[in-house]
Symmetry: C2
């Protein structure tokens, strides 16, 4: 890594990554449908070390995750960041792993907000198999 | 679409989507590497109707795009959004299409900022094949 880059970028360890995810908020989930990669914003919460978000049951994201499941993991990526254009500082965290539906009996205890409508009745969870993060300084 | 949802979500047309992308800023590019989907934040500019961003030459994103090119399109997705937690309003735009390197001779005219370091010498462009957007109201 070049000196110019090491001055600006710092890798975060797992603990720092989960600490940044802990407040929840808006993240972006990347998945693959029949034409290629896609990415959409969702509200999420962190439940222990598991990311949980809601999507519309039978909708695009839900279907893309469900169609190819058949018992196997469907890989997704989840990205959360916060940047300040004024100071050119910020951070980003990327979590990757298998997506799974949360059983209805467990979903009730998770207070996952959805701005886009209360019809988002499919709860998806991601237990990160890999997590990485970076902090950027001016 | 349920009435509850139509009150909260409005689809944006192509013109509205490009207008929201016009100022540039931070977006998230989703791509696929050998284990599945990934998504990372990048600075971008809109050049006409083409999205342009920078990444590290030979880095993870650059390699994932380059490795599988061999003349064919590598599909990526690009997402830009702006949400206000206080009012629970905001918008998001998703552009999808093939990723291509910008020839060095053309890259000089594009002022694409990179916060993460000046070693981001690979310029990637995305001419959206599909673009869609949504606005959410409280």
């Amino acid at each position: 890594m070049a000196a110019a880059e090491s001055r600006k970028l710092a890798e975060l360890d797992d603990e720092e990554c989960f600490a940044l995810l802990a407040p929840g908020g808006v993240g972006r989930v990347a998945f693959t449908d029949f034409v290629g990669p896609a990415v959409v914003p969702v509200n999420f919460v962190l439940d222990g070390r598991v990311l949980v978000f809601r999507t519309a049951l039978g909708g695009w994201l839900d279907q893309s995750l469900t169609t190819s499941i058949a018992g196997a993991d469907v890989r997704i990526a989840f990205e959360v960041d916060d940047f300040d254009p004024a100071t050119r500082t910020g951070w980003s965290v990327l979590a990757r792993g298998g997506a799974h539906h949360v059983p209805a009996a467990e979903a009730g205890d998770l207070r996952v907000d959805s701005w886009a409508g209360d019809d988002r009745q499919s709860y998806i969870r991601l237990t990160p198999r890999e997590i990485s993060g970076r902090r950027v300084r001016a």
